[in-house]
Amino acid sequence: MLILFWILALTCVGASIAMVVTQNPVRSALYLVITFLCVAVFYVMLSAQFLAAVQIIVYAGAIMVLFLFVIMLLNLGAPQALRERGTLQPFFAAVLGTAFVVMLLLSNSLVALSKVRPAAPPEVYVPLGTVEGIGKNLFDPKQPWILPFEITSILLLVAIVGAVIMAKRRIQDHTP
């Protein structure tokens, strides 16, 4: 289990670094897919199976398509043209990254020092993260999630209308 975690963690970090370093934007996108897949397996290891499926279907599938379309839409051209020059971005990135790592290390040691102990795992394992567990909670009339669930569809409807209006504005001007 731990071995699997470390293999995946190293793959994930390696793919993320490769994604940033690679000059070809399409290859970058493919490295991002590897990172997404690794994160999906992490979700399974944390017994959030539904989230893992969503990660693969939505992120590695649909969102990735959007990324690729943006890359093709912009047509970034030769990789040499992509190099940034004279910006402060690398400096700030380094500072913020170091601060983040220091914060992680500090928080770990602070938790170890403090008397607060993390909550013990429950005696009975409740499969909340599976597809079935989500379904049971989401659609059960005794649970308060019915209205949020239905409102989600209105949210998606708004997304549809917004996308169509933004993209088809030109056509709208011409329709008599």
Partner: protein
């Protein structure tokens, strides 16, 4: 993490499947690369059969239409995500709850159907807008009128004679290929 160990072990077959399929895919690519003879000639390097010789770079800019379709795809993808837990739990319910579940999903899908019909009504999925373009600025009849035949340096050989249509050409496969060719070429005097 010890509580769900059995859960994780259920994914071992999946891991094996991923491993085997990756290995097969790699073996095919690497194997053909290693084993295949490589004797490139100028003729082999040309495009195969009716392939076109490439003109310019393949990195062209992409029409924005694709982006709209991808965005709409994401919305319906998320709708499908909600269908998974519903479908898994639906069967386990009693009769009354089944009706409730069904109505719940019906409302959800009905609201999204409004969006679907909106997309259709706005013709957001229409790929080609030429139909509308014609309605907007009609093409002049001269462009649509039949044009004289294009000549390729044979202007001196007199006017183009259109060959008379053959009386009867048998359907493809009805007669032998030779007979068909004979029927097609019989109009040539």
């Amino acid at each position: 993490m010890s509580g769900n160990h059995g859960d994780i072990l259920a994914y071992v077959p999946l891991l094996v499947l991923i491993g085997v399929s990756t290995a097969i895919a790699l073996a095919m690519v690497v194997g053909s690369f290693l084993l295949g003879p490589k004797k490139p000639t100028a003729y082999k390097a040309t495009a195969y059969e009716c392939g076109m010789t490439p003109i310019g770079s393949a990195r062209e800019r992409f029409p924005v239409k694709f982006y709209l379709i991808a965005m709409l795809f994401i919305v319906f993808d998320i709708e499908t995500i909600f269908l998974y837990p519903w479908a898994v739990t639906y069967r386990a319910q009693g009769y009354d709850l089944k009706i409730f579940y069904f109505a719940e999903m019906l409302v959800f899908v009905a609201i999204l159907f409004v969006g679907y019909f909106y997309i259709l009504g706005r013709r957001a999925l229409d790929w080609d807008e030429s139909e509308r373009a014609v309605a907007r600025d009609p093409i002049s009849p001269e462009i649509l009128a039949p044009r004289p035949p294009i000549r390729f340096g044979n202007e001196k050989s007199g006017p183009v004679r259109r060959l008379p249509e053959p009386a009867h050409v048998p359907a493809y496969g009805a007669v032998s290929q030779e007979e068909r060719i004979a029927a097609l070429t019989s109009r040539r005097e």
